[in-house]
Amino acid sequence: MTVADDIFAVVEHPLSPDDIAARVDDPAAGGLVIFSGVVRNETGGRPVKFLEYEAHTAMAEAKLREIGAAIRGRWPEIKRVAMLHRVGRLEIGESSVLIAVSAAHRGDAFEACRYAIDTLKRIVPVWKKEHFEDGEVWVGLQGG
């Protein structure tokens, strides 16, 4: 359970909560929290057909590693951290981001997982394009 076992990656394949849970499994963990961000079927009442995600992959993975390092500095009882972001075309209900944190106790795992997703949303260079029946739009400048 060293930092080297942590996982931070931008991937093109479907994300599986079971797989990521296995990646942060640790005999000293008493709690495991998983956050899954999924593709919603509407934005502001407008039906969404599907999403496309694009990343600055090298920088995104570097920022994910930074978040992992910050977590280990702030919550020393964390056992393992895994953060995966998917890119490409995603359908409604599919997971775009998965974060898993295992810790000796649940409080640390919940707090660290929340910190991880909130920080990811601020600093990791990933963009999404929403495809609607009648058009498409890059999310970001509209504040959405």
Binding site: A58, M59, K121, R122, V126, W127, W138, G140
Partner: protein, 83 residues
């Protein structure tokens, strides 16, 4: 000095290019590079107030001084989302 600029998301689509190679004067800044890119692709000018800049894997400010061979990325705000 030669600097490679990478464009993402709407910037890539608006210009039809993922990267732009620039020849800038020594001591040029990120702002210098931005102006050179906008000179070639004026359709990006409207996005200036929202644009984020990164050199390598680190965010930088517009007055950041570039070095020969730097890889500069220009992109819109990250996708975010309501918490």
């Amino acid at each position: 000095m030669r600097v490679r600029v990478h464009l993402f998301a709407r910037y890539r689509e608006a210009t039809g290019q993922g990267q732009v190679d620039l020849e800038l004067p020594e001591g040029g800044t990120v702002e210098t590079a931005w102006l050179a890119v906008v000179d070639r692709h004026p359709q990006l000018a409207q996005y200036r107030p929202y644009t984020l800049f990164a050199v390598g894997h680190d965010y930088v400010e517009p007055d950041h001084r570039l070095k020969p061979g730097d890889e500069l990325s220009l992109f819109p705000p990250v996708s975010g989302g309501a918490s």
